[in-house]
């Protein structure tokens, strides 16, 4: 009997809700929360979703379990067809990919993400790089951002390094205003830019200026806690709601889809015990 859900399960549900039926959506690699979210969406409210798997580019696969890495034959089992990498990116460039999901070690108030490097003048830390995120952030119609590191943990020096920052050190993927402050509309990109940020504390949307704006919080999370965890001046939606929790069927579905708990790798150790009543 399912009585509660974990933070990961709550985030999977929140991400899944950003996926619309009858569209084509793509999850990248190294992102089991998003992989699960697409499978949840496809099996609940979006049966006609064209689900393209990251790394394998399988179309509508039915993986028997989630594997710990993305380019594994586990992940395209049941797909009748797979795209080539160039076809996948062409679809986005031609305006046929409706949603993609991006994250960053820094996410700024305009929804820019940085997964390339920390430090501006001097390199403080080399990050893995963005894969195709740069291109897709410009081309894909709608983008959902997500991070499990909104609440900054103190680093070894006791310093809290914000995940949601005023300005990214490097813009790997484009939000609503680019590296020189240019509005993305003036760049004539196809995509409309980030629409949501799903974090470990709540969900943001973006206001007319393209600035992130808190839209809802998870049960037990206060707006002050969000403000205290955010590196830019917090903007609030008119009505900051409480995030509706997933139903038991959805929670059961997630557990069935990820028997190895691969998605827990994405959740910080101290958050793995957070529970929300279902």
């Amino acid at each position: 009997m399912i009585r509660d859900c974990s933070l990961g399960e709550l985030m999977v549900t929140a991400i899944a809700r950003t996926v619309e039926d009858g569209t084509l959506a793509f999850h990248g690699y190294g992102s089991p929360l998003v992989q699960l979210a697409l499978h949840v969406a496809k099996r609940t409210h979006a049966p006609n979703l064209v689900l393209v798997a990251g790394a394998t580019y399988g179309i509508n696969p039915n993986p028997p379990f989630l594997s710990p890495t993305s380019n594994d034959w586990v992940m395209d089992r049941g797909a009748a067809h797979s795209l080539d990498i160039e076809e996948l990116f062409d679809l986005a460039a031609a305006g046929r990919m409706q949603r993609m999901f991006l994250s960053g070690l820094q996410i700024d108030k305009w929804g820019n993400c940085n997964v390339t490097r920390l430090g501006t003048d001097r390199l403080a830390m080399k990050l893995p790089g963005g894969g195709g995120g740069c291109n897709l952030s410009c081309d894909v119609d709608q983008v959902t951002l997500w991070t499990t590191g909104h609440r900054p943990a103190p680093d070894v020096a006791g310093r809290r390094r914000f995940r949601l920052v005023e300005q990214c050190d490097f813009v790997t993927s484009l939000g609503h205003r680019g590296v020189d402050g240019r509005d993305r509309r003036s760049l004539s990109h196809r995509g409309k830019g980030p629409q949501w940020i799903v974090t470990d504390l709540g969900v943001f949307d973006f206001d007319a200026e393209g600035h992130a704006r808190l839209r809802c919080v998870y049960p037990g999370v206060s707006i002050n806690e969000v403000r205290d965890s955010t590196g830019f001046a917090l903007r609030l939606a008119e009505n900051v709601e409480s995030m509706p929790l997933p139903d038991r069927e959805t929670i059961a579905l997630i557990r069935r889809l990820d028997p190895l708990h691969v998605h827990e790798h994405e959740v910080r150790a101290e958050d793995r015990d957070r529970r929300f009543a279902a």
Partner: protein, 329 residues
């Protein structure tokens, strides 16, 4: 007109137009010998699958230096090359171990020390640059990337105003790797390659590069390639091929073997321990200290490891058990 069979004329040399030798089978070291100091190298496969690890180990044993690596999504391949000091520039889109282990330790160190120039790219940018090479064009236009920090990192990118729409477009120059290093499941003596599962960038690499070398799990007759479902990369792009079973280990090469997560965990622990630890715990025992691929296979547990990694095909439970946390210890 002369009486000789072929009409000859003043032809300019076209060294790598097509590779037509009927037998291109070579040893692993012959293949590795094609990689020269300073080459721009395209490494095939992606993340933890079908990466030409055996060729890369053979390249490292030859102490090749100053490679530029260019491509999309990589992990242990580029991290190992960096850890062995073979790389001076990385134009990859991603080098890491996903959520499974995280940041690539040797790659990170080499970038942060300045040994490796950070020349990061993005997947579609790379695709467009390879497409330019494949079509013999100096560049390809592209919409994306403007507004991000990438153009600032790449002075070779240019912009133009589209004469049709008035929009600004980005131009990215052709990427012509000196050598593409691939691993496929099957090949034949002539160099035809059959890739099963995601081909990733391998076909584009093969068409765009000045030279292509490939290891395969099995060399089979051409007819067998057709029976298996067809040729992925035709022989005339390929200059040499070697039969190297387990040639992608510790990455996966289905249907032969799954990703060796336990070996990768050991690799990762050694790499995270710093340059010295990596050298003594991994680079010496598994790469430089192995005389050849056979020694490497013995070092990783020989047939027992091979059998273990082949159990994925026995069913979901067996497959899952390879990837359980308990399997790492």
């Amino acid at each position: 007109m002369s009486n000789t069979q072929t009409i000859t004329t003043n032809r300019r040399p076209m060294p790598s137009a097509v590779w037509t030798s009927p037998d291109k089978r070579r040893g692993l070291n012959d293949l590795a010998g094609k990689v020269k100091d300073g080459d721009v190298v395209a490494v095939g496969g992606g993340l933890s699958s079908r990466v030409p690890m055996a060729i890369l180990r053979a390249v490292l044993r030859r102490k090749v230096r100053n490679l530029t690596v260019a491509g999309s999504a990589h992990g242990i391949d580029i991290d190992l090359l960096c850890g062995a000091g073979a790389v001076s520039c990385s134009s990859e889109s991603y080098v890491g171990f996903e959520q499974d282990f995280g940041i690539a330790p040797n790659y990170r160190r080499a970038c942060e020390s300045g040994e490796v120039r950070i020349d990061d790219s993005c997947c579609y940018t790379v695709v467009q640059q390879l497409r330019a090479a494949v079509a013999g064009l100096p560049f390809m236009p592209m919409r994306s990337a403007r507004g991000t920090s990438f153009p600032g990192l790449h002075p070779e990118y240019k912009t133009m105003i589209c004469p049709y729409t008035g929009e600004e477009l980005l131009l990215v120059p052709a990427l012509i790797p000196d050598i593409a290093i691939l691993h496929a499941q099957y090949g034949d003596a002539q160099g035809n390659l059959r890739i099963e599962g995601p081909p990733v960038l391998d076909p584009l690499f093969a068409k765009a590069s000045r030279m292509v070398i490939a290891s395969v799990e099995e060399i089979v007759p051409t007819e067998r390639l057709v029976e298996l479902g067809g040729i992925t990369i035709p022989y005339f792009y390929v200059s040499a091929v070697a039969e190297v079973p387990m040639g992608a280990h510790p990455t996966a090469c289905y249907p032969f073997y799954a990703y060796d997560r336990a070996h990768t965990a050991a690799y990762y622990a050694a790499a995270r321990g710093g340059a010295g630890t990596f050298n003594t715990d991994y680079l010496e025992p598994f790469v430089l200290g192995c005389a050849d691929h056979a020694s490497y296979l013995r070092r990783i547990g020989g047939d027992e490891t091979r059998r273990r990694l082949a159990t994925w095909s026995e069913g979901t439970e067996a497959w899952m058990s390879l990837y359980r946390e308990e399997a790492l210890t």
